[in-house]
Symmetry: C2
């Protein structure tokens, strides 16, 4: 089943209505601009799918470039000198497209759209987004390939004296240069004792001899995110850190071995968590958001299916140190394939 | 009047309710994370101000650090392994804080919050946000100082052979290094014929001899944005470009001379637009968003007041070239002060 078919199955004859950015992108191809907050020349787009599968998006006239070929844009003005109430206009337009019974995501809907009687199918849509179509997998592979490039740049530039911000600049430049343009990136990039904090933004700290680097890179290409994490040691890492890293690697391998269609997400979590202790999830789906279903957490009974894309990231954190290894996998017919290509060794393996 | 007092004047005894990110930050000090889209471990915060001036924010427990001292956080869970419906929880908590008649911004409110009967005071709040308090001015000055650093980096690195992305990396690194951390930046950075497009994101194009650079930098420090633009020529710019740049500078000077309390925004626009032609606004307020009231556009009858912060940016665009000059000013008792410190010459003046 394609995602369009899965969405129609959730809608079950009702008109589907959502302003959740992930759902909108999923059904229309819309790529939201996110790096500088809400645009004063736009309003959140709204997707409306009728029972026959016709997909319409209420969107700024400036944001139709990335739409899938069969999606019909219903536009309001974009950048303009004149005063335009784009939010009201978007709501009016969306209201005009709605007919019959409605199912959707009420928590995403602003103003008068939130007053429509509708059946909440938010959870169903989140689950339906977990298994990816071929074009979505291609997009995620592209984002992961860019994360790989960033990871390589971080690893090769991690030497005593370099600051976290300097590393960050090199990493980002390597990724943006490979893409040929700016790209949004969520990142942890911390060194030394800061690695004990699980993550954090790059700052002024300069790397020292026998230091650790923890670098988690989550770049977006188009509407889809990649993910990746590695811990890198310079010089001599203490035995406890080497052991912890080996345990994290073993947990990652065990988790990958556990992933297969029919397995519950919580079972994968338990498999990894039996080998090493960490205060966070074992993993999560990745795609139109940086962290989505299936969440690999204790007790999650969601059953894994072919086409789901999962980032697995066991770690271990102690007094003044922390390590984590992360790879992204796609669930296959009988197991999973690893999409990540970056070096996850504590020391470089190449 | 402080912004709190202006907000209470708009509320006029009613409970004030908003989930507009700018209004929330304005009244609470909340700094939204924006660079990677909506967080899966958060939900949009909601501000509730009761008639006595008590300010409460419904917010993730992970996002209370930046709040103003007298703001009371009412929190829902942040980062967690467990499954939590933060959006529903935020709405429930906000509903529990509401009492009596309500005024607010209905277009910003999700789900059940949008079903509350309330008086729409969105336009009044936007206007009330235009004049800045002292702490807001300090924040904007800091952001503009960072923009100045970015402008200087762009200007000094603009030589034949450098790519737009390489310039961008240097510019961003200079700004992030000055801050000691990552910061969100909206930017135009285009060279050569791309300058005719008014703006655009940096790409692969490499600068050539006798080329133009158009660089518009809008960094955010805390919750407040700065703004800045310059056009820089390498080598010999054609006479038409030099003339256009001189006209844009003259228009900027005329606009600054026109800015004073009691003047209508549209009059400032007309003053600048009489000297040079451009397909965009003459300027705009800047603060909690990158473009806000007072918009300096034809016919805007909003009256300028002391404390308003306005970016003025006349430009001129022809076949294969474009120039723009921008400075930010604050309206004073009898005119305006320029907050920008960057070089706006077509050729460096230092």
């Amino acid at each position: 089943m394609t995602r369009r078919e899965r969405a129609l199955a959730v809608a079950d004859g009702r008109t589907l209505l959502s302003a959740d950015p992930a759902t909108v992108s999923w059904l229309t191809g819309h790529v939201p601009e996110i790096e500088w907050g809400p645009s004063p020349f736009s309003a959140p787009p709204v997707v409306v799918v009728d029972g026959s599968g016709r997909v319409r998006i209420v969107v700024s006239e400036d944001e139709t470039d990335s739409l899938l070929p069969d999606v019909e844009p219903v536009t309001f003005p974009g950048f303009a000198v004149e005063e335009v109430d784009r939010h009201s206009r978007a709501i009016e337009l969306a209201l005009s497209l709605i007919d019959g019974r409605v199912a959707g995501e009420p928590l995403s809907l602003p103003g008068a759209l939130a007053r429509i009687e509708l059946d909440d199918v938010g959870v169903e849509l989140q689950r339906a987004r977990a298994a990816k179509d071929r074009d979505e997998l291609d997009a995620i592979r592209s984002a992961i390939a860019i994360a790989d490039i960033g990871q390589a740049a971080a690893r090769s530039a991690f030497v005593p004296g370099v600051s976290e911000l300097e590393l960050w600049t090199l990493v980002r430049a390597a990724m943006e240069s490979a893409v040929g343009g700016r790209l949004p990136v969520l990142a942890d990039l911390v060194t030394g004792p800061r690695t004990a904090d699980v993550g954090g933004a790059p700052g002024d700290r300069r790397a020292e001899h026998d230091d650790l680097l923890l670098v988690d890179l989550v770049p977006r290409i188009g509407a889809y995110w990649g993910d990746s994490c590695a811990a890198v040691a310079h010089g001599d890492a203490p035995g406890i850190v080497r052991d912890a890293h080996a345990n994290a690697l073993a947990a990652l391998e065990a988790a990958k071995t556990a992933v297969a269609p029919g397995v519950r997400a919580g079972e994968v979590d338990a498999t990894a968590r039996a080998l090493v202790d960490y205060p966070h999830h074992t993993g999560h789906g990745v795609g139109l958001t940086v962290h989505e279903q299936p969440r690999i957490v204790p007790g999650n009974d969601q059953i894994l299916e072919e086409g789901m894309v999962i980032a697995l990231e066991p770690g271990c954190y102690g007094e003044g140190w922390g390590v984590r290894v992360e790879q992204v996998v796609v669930v296959t017919e009988d197991g999973c394939d690893v999409l990540s290509g970056h070096d996850i060794g504590l020391y470089s393996t190449t």
